[in-house]
Subunit: 246 residues, 2 copies
């Protein structure tokens, strides 16, 4: 994505309405797509919108009722997009909390990795519920540091998106996490899946953002990072994580 | 349970510490177990404690790590219980929010019924995530009306318990709801399961409690009640519910 975006001359993006449906980060730049568009492509935030979940594309393709979130600092732009996508199986939710929606979508992939790892390690549904409830609180704490008008994590845009990714069989991040939890190396899991789970790149960016501002405690993100990047043994990292959850 | 409780002379309960692990209601009395103990058995609330989830008993039996909630208006009593159950697979959480924890456990069964019905009707993971996020908000609104010190629904005691019941294969309430969603009559589903899902009785009590105080909008509880008690056609009731979710 990054080299593709770089190849577009900034002039061509002038006065264009840009819509990102990417729930990941640009790993080399350590930022989200809309941050990149603003900083490197000089696109004013009022021209940028994002489409987020809770939504697996597979179910949209099957025309199963899905509620998509359209966000932009300019509400009319979010609403225009919402009207465009609205149909009998797509119910739009429009919000001006573009930064929160985009970051929530990035974070939830990290938590889905964690849920997958726990599953792969043999933890059950009881523990997964504790992990996901703690993830919701970790997400809330992080999102509250982003903005003067904090997002409410119980909204469908955040909690719904977290749930659909942490619990669904369609989730690539959960699947990837489960393979690592079962003992695959990161590289073997990537090779076997034939793709990279977005949460793999996201976790470093999230922790770097949080570190730069030394804001909130993120034990779940730290545990995922330790397993994926610091050769942490998943079993002992999660035993340590379990002691920090409540 | 009710006739069993009735058979115990009130005198025998004097100065006893009573612990309820029931996540249901007494249908004839339209109240929770601890409400019944206070009102009919004259047990002071300081002598009553409850054990709630997030927890499927099946996984505790398998010694899978589970976080149980011990609650009592008297914190020392909750902590004493917590210490008693604490072991390598039971991690206690102790709280004085006894009323909220008990009512949260009752409510989550109704929402698990709703999640099961949606599944049985053919809705997918995307919709379930929306439904459960809305259920968390509906639970929060209801719990906030119970007490001057409202419970925080993002806590594991509430959200974790909701998730484990709404998403787990072990959930009787979800299974019962799924059968009704697939077209079984309430009676056939009960006969086939050989037991009654607690949420079936709970939904009437919850709505009656809410109605008596005319407090919050509970579209999910109302939809479940309409299907189970008012011969509502599950498909059209859920189509109507979907329009009220966001």
């Amino acid at each position: 994505v990054e080299s593709l975006l770089e190849s577009i001359p900034n002039d061509e993006l002038k006065d264009k309405m840009l819509v990102s449906a990417i729930k990941g980060v640009l790993p080399d730049k350590q930022m989200t797509v809309s941050q990149y568009l603003r900083l490197y492509k000089e696109v004013p935030s009022e021209q940028i919108a994002t489409i987020t979940g809770p939504c697996h594309a597979e179910e949209v393709a099957q025309e199963k009722l899905s509620y998509l979130t359209f966000s932009s600092p300019r509400l009319e732009m979010a609403q225009q997009l919402g009207r465009f996508f609205h149909c009998h199986y797509v119910q739009p939710t429009c919000t001006t909390d573009a930064g929160g929606a985009e970051m929530g979508a990035v974070l939830k992939n990290v938590y889905a990795l964690a849920a997958g790892m726990a599953h792969g390690l043999g933890y059950g549904d009881n523990f997964t519920a504790v992990l996901v409830a703690n993830a919701a609180r970790e997400m809330q704490a992080f999102l509250h540091t982003l903005d003067a008008h904090p997002s409410e994590v119980l909204e469908t845009t955040y909690l719904g998106d977290l749930l659909v990714t942490a619990y669904s069989q369609f989730s690539r991040n959960r699947t990837f996490g489960a393979m690592v939890g079962r003992g695959y190396s990161v590289r073997s899991a990537q090779l076997e899946m034939g793709m990279v789970a977005e949460g793999y790149y996201a976790v470093g960016v999230v922790l770097a953002l949080n570190e730069a501002r030394k804001q909130v405690d993120m034990p779940i993100c730290r545990a995922v990072h330790e397993v994926l990047y610091q050769q942490g043994d998943a079993r002992s990292v999660f035993a340590g994580l379990a002691r920090q959850l409540s």
